[in-house]
Symmetry: C2
Subunit: 124 residues, 2 copies
């Protein structure tokens, strides 16, 4: 895909118009491993994070704790490469399928959902 | 499972202590079909919705638009039966796998993510 600097610096208006954001301007982004179907993590995107993700094909989030953009893997090497992106029926959630390099979770586990509270891990 | 009225009316305190809620007291709940791995929808839960979900084995959300509890399927018949529940590493998202009866989406489609913006539906 083209370098982000070559692309318009606004999210496509017809897409932007469909997003229903939280009070702090964010949409939830569910990230699923393209090949295995595992749900890897949930992140948050504002319009600019979504624009960068689509433009670059590398997943970028808005970090609520650090209040900054966060392109997954820039520090860890555990990059996420976008395969598909879907918007839900009411515009407040995105579903991304990705090719995940290494662990998705900053704790080093493959997914962020390794703490199973109900049911059996083996049953997932 | 036991009827919810037979069970304690507070979410288990050690679990409640681990949740990181939005300003309006909610945690995102990703719902995945247990058998196919499809991500069906994203809902929101407060502590009471999570307590009911665990106690009854039927998925209950907090509806942000209607400001009320919403046990999936009570109107539509499209119930969700809990199989597994996991909490993510930072406590702000839940991943539920369910047995989904009928369409998960109120629009009648199997999942809420049928609007593919990037990539090919067939490639998901």
């Amino acid at each position: 895909m083209a370098d982000v600097t070559d692309l318009p610096d606004r999210l496509e208006p017809s897409l932007a118009a469909r997003l229903k954001r939280t009070a702090d301007g964010l949409v939830a982004a569910i990230v699923q491993d393209h090949d295995t179907g595992e749900v890897l993590m949930l992140g948050w995107m504002d319009d600019e994070a979504l624009r960068r993700t689509i433009a670059e094909g590398r997943v970028t989030y808005w970090s609520r704790s650090r209040q900054e953009y966060w392109r997954k893997g820039d520090t860890s090497g555990h990059t996420q490469h976008l395969r598909t992106l879907a918007l839900d029926c009411d515009g407040d959630a995105l579903l991304l399928t990705v090719d995940q390099v290494g662990a998705a979770c900053h704790t080093g586990t493959r997914t962020c959902f390794s703490d199973v509270l109900v049911g059996d891990e083996a049953d997932r």
